[in-house]
């Protein structure tokens, strides 16, 4: 009985005293890399053929406006790489040119993207532009962009009307970017 008693009562103390821990390396935390790939729509521009026909000159859109999602401090500091996707749909009766310019705080043009689309019927024009990474454009373009200037030029006449229902020129776009959270 004494032996049993000693064995049982000592077991607990021994178990605690002799507990083991396999070798751990908490420095691994420094190597942890959290880089989510986020995507969202960016810009949507729409003009009806009636607006194009009523414009006094050939440039029926000439808009400059503040655009700061990429220059927000957190985004600018943690942006790794990404892709801007543009899609242009033209259902009007005239060929058109759309130009997007990325401007910095002084108004200087950092980058320009031009889209030429034929008169309807025509396929969707889709273009993907990479930033950062291998072969991509400089991320500084996006980091320093605080304004966009959108210009659209009518390369056809100012009177014809497309037989398609509700003729328009539409620019759609989205951004997919990788950020470093850790």
């Amino acid at each position: 009985m004494k032996t049993t008693l000693r064995l049982l009562s000592g077991l607990l103390c021994l178990q605690v005293a002799l507990s083991c821990v396999d070798s751990q390396n908490f420095d691994q935390y420094d190597d942890l890399s959290i880089t989510p790939n986020m995507e969202a729509s960016l810009l949507y521009v729409e003009a009806t053929e009636a607006v194009i026909n009523q414009a006094p000159g050939v440039d029926f859109i000439q808009e400059t406006f503040a655009f700061t999602p990429f220059s927000e401090p957190y985004v600018a500091d943690n942006l790794l790489d990404g892709v801007l996707t543009f899609e242009v749909e033209n259902t009007t009766s005239k060929p058109l040119q759309i130009r997007i310019e990325f401007l910095d705080a002084t108004g200087a043009v950092l980058d320009t993207e031009t889209f030429l689309v034929d008169a309807a019927p025509t396929a969707l024009l889709r273009r993907e532009i990479a930033y950062g990474g291998l072969g991509g454009r400089s991320l500084d373009i996006l980091r320093n962009t605080v304004q966009l200037r959108i210009s659209a030029t009518n390369l056809g006449d100012a009177s014809s009307v497309s037989p398609l229902p509700d003729p328009k020129i539409i620019l759609r776009s989205s951004a997919q970017f990788r950020f470093r959270l850790k």
Binding site: M1, L12, F67
Partner: protein, 487 residues
């Protein structure tokens, strides 16, 4: 009694969830007076006891289901990013939890009524800290991988569930032996909250899908809240560089822990029923109570629904917008639809409700019908002194523990074996199956030398082979001075 049991079973899932710990080794281990804290209706056999202040009852528990420290930080040469992705991001489920509980008695004592010896009164103060966080599976995956290529997937905001409390509990309990078969008890509790936080009633989702106009639409449908109390006082102290911050924080916590912070009320119920001389049924319902958080409150909410398809320039309407602040307007519009707000409104929180039950079979009769070391006595006849009841050397049985967690009741089943050795030593061995492990072996002992009693209880002994790989670990110890019925 059936009604009481029914009430217990119904109350646990209904009352609001919070955390605490299963203390299966201590439950019904009546050689240890602190067992009365887990069942105020336990069969108290002491004349009196006094806990040694600050060391009469200390219990610490750490728990993590689904993953252990070793899974991520073992020095195994694997890339930690692969381990996090495979074992945490893709391996853990929303029901997996991480938590810790610490309880330390500041004061405890108990005595048998002089006029009514069938009554045993116990009282004390203990500090309690408890934190529980569920794995926010969808949010973690969103943060790890992002929403790209996840069209139509709803990232559920309800996966964020966390809460924590630090409080003092002032309690007073009455235990009464009704007859040879029934002992019942109740304990009243005053809670004095020091700090608290909780975010456990969230709902909504974040969704990306093809847009109606643009290529994509991001939808945030949120009903989220985070409530806290007590932290503002600490923050003010930390902001004041001229103060002795450690001393000030200590003073603030002591003040809040002694009725200067949040206040609450609660009670425990319990019983012991001798089904026969050898077969005993026990049960208790703990922490039916609440706290009113009215001081140093700071709450945050994110409520509303917003859908964003980027900046929209639609001619000719856009030409009428003179300032051309399309981006800022979009941000403002989203903030209007899903406002992030702050307030200092008082809120109510409920304490973790726990249910314990056990069925015990005693055998190995030590002293048939006679006085024994620890008097298993009938105290109802106070004049002639306690009447000793049959006393047993060994016990075998099963226990049930239910606790209401933020994601619903959580159960643990325990089988136990208990044995007394003379007057000096009692051992209890347990096997417990719960969500953390199906092989939780525990061992506890109570050693009495004269009037001094020391106990040590340790859980999940197999986990000590590699603590870093253990999902749950706890230990309890304490030092008391006590007098059994014979004294």
């Amino acid at each position: 009694m059936r009604k009481l049991l029914l009430l217990c079973l119904l109350a646990v899932p209904v009352l609001n969830p919070l955390g605490a710990q299963n203390r299966q080794l201590l439950y019904d281990f009546m050689e240890i007076p602190q067992a009365l804290l887990l069942n105020p209706g336990a069969k108290a056999e002491y004349q009196w006891y006094a806990g040694i202040p600050l060391v009469s009852g200390i219990s610490v528990q750490g728990r993590a289901s689904g993953i252990a420290v070793n899974d991520l930080f073992a020095d195994d040469g694997l890339d930690i990013n692969d381990k996090v992705r495979d074992r945490a991001i893709r391996g853990l489920k929303p029901r997996d939890e991480f938590g810790t509980s610490v309880q330390a008695e500041l004061l405890s004592g108990g005595f048998r009524g002089r006029e009514r010896p069938e009554n045993f009164y116990s009282f004390g103060i203990y500090s309690l800290g408890d934190v529980i966080t569920y794995w926010p599976a969808d949010l973690a995956e969103l943060a790890w991988e992002g929403n790209a290529g996840q069209l139509g997937r709803r990232y559920r905001l309800a996966h964020l569930k966390t809460r924590g409390d630090v409080l003092n509990v002032f309690h007073f309990g009455i235990n009464r032996q009704l007859d040879n078969r029934w002992t019942i008890g109740a304990r009243a509790k005053l809670y004095s909250g020091m700090v608290s936080f909780r975010s456990s009633s969230n709902s909504g989702y974040f969704l990306t899908e093809p847009g109606a106009d643009n290529l994509l639409v991001n939808i945030l449908d949120a009903n989220m809240q985070f409530r806290s109390s007590g932290f503002e006082a600490i923050r003010r102290i930390l902001d004041d560089d001229s103060a002795d911050q450690a001393a000030e924080i200590r003073r603030e916590m002591v003040s809040r822990g002694f009725f200067g912070g949040d206040l609450g009320l609660g009670f425990d119920l319990g019983f012991t029923h001798n089904l026969s001389d050898r077969l005993i049924l026990t049960g208790s319902l703990l922490d039916l109570g609440f706290l009113v958080h009215a001081s140093e409150v700071r709450n945050f909410t994110l409520q509303g629904r917003g859908a964003v398809e980027g900046v929209q320039v639609i001619l000719p309407d856009a030409l009428s917008n003179p300032d051309r602040e399309f981006w800022q307007q979009l941000v403002d519009e989203l903030e209007g639809l899903v406002p992030f707000e702050e307030d200092q409104r008082t809120y109510l929180s409920f304490r973790p409700t726990q249910l314990f039950a056990s069925l015990r079979y005693n055998y190995g009769q030590r002293n048939p019908g006679g006085a024994s070391s620890s008097c298993d006595c009938d105290y109802r006849d106070g004049k002639s002194g306690p009447v000793p009841l049959p006393d047993y050397r060994s016990s075998l049985g099963g226990q049930l523990h239910l606790i209401n967690r933020p994601r619903g009741p959580q159960m643990a089943l325990t089988a136990f074996y208990q044995r007394r050795f003379w007057n000096a030593l009692a051992l209890k061995a347990t096997y417990t199956a719960d969500k953390f492990t199906l092989a939780n072996l525990g061992l506890g002992m109570s050693v009495q030398a004269g009037p001094v009693e020391f106990y040590l209880l340790a859980d999940n002994l197999l986990g000590y082979r590699n603590l870093a790989a253990s999902h749950i670990q706890s230990f309890q110890f304490g030092l008391n001075i006590l007098s059994w019925g014979r004294n």
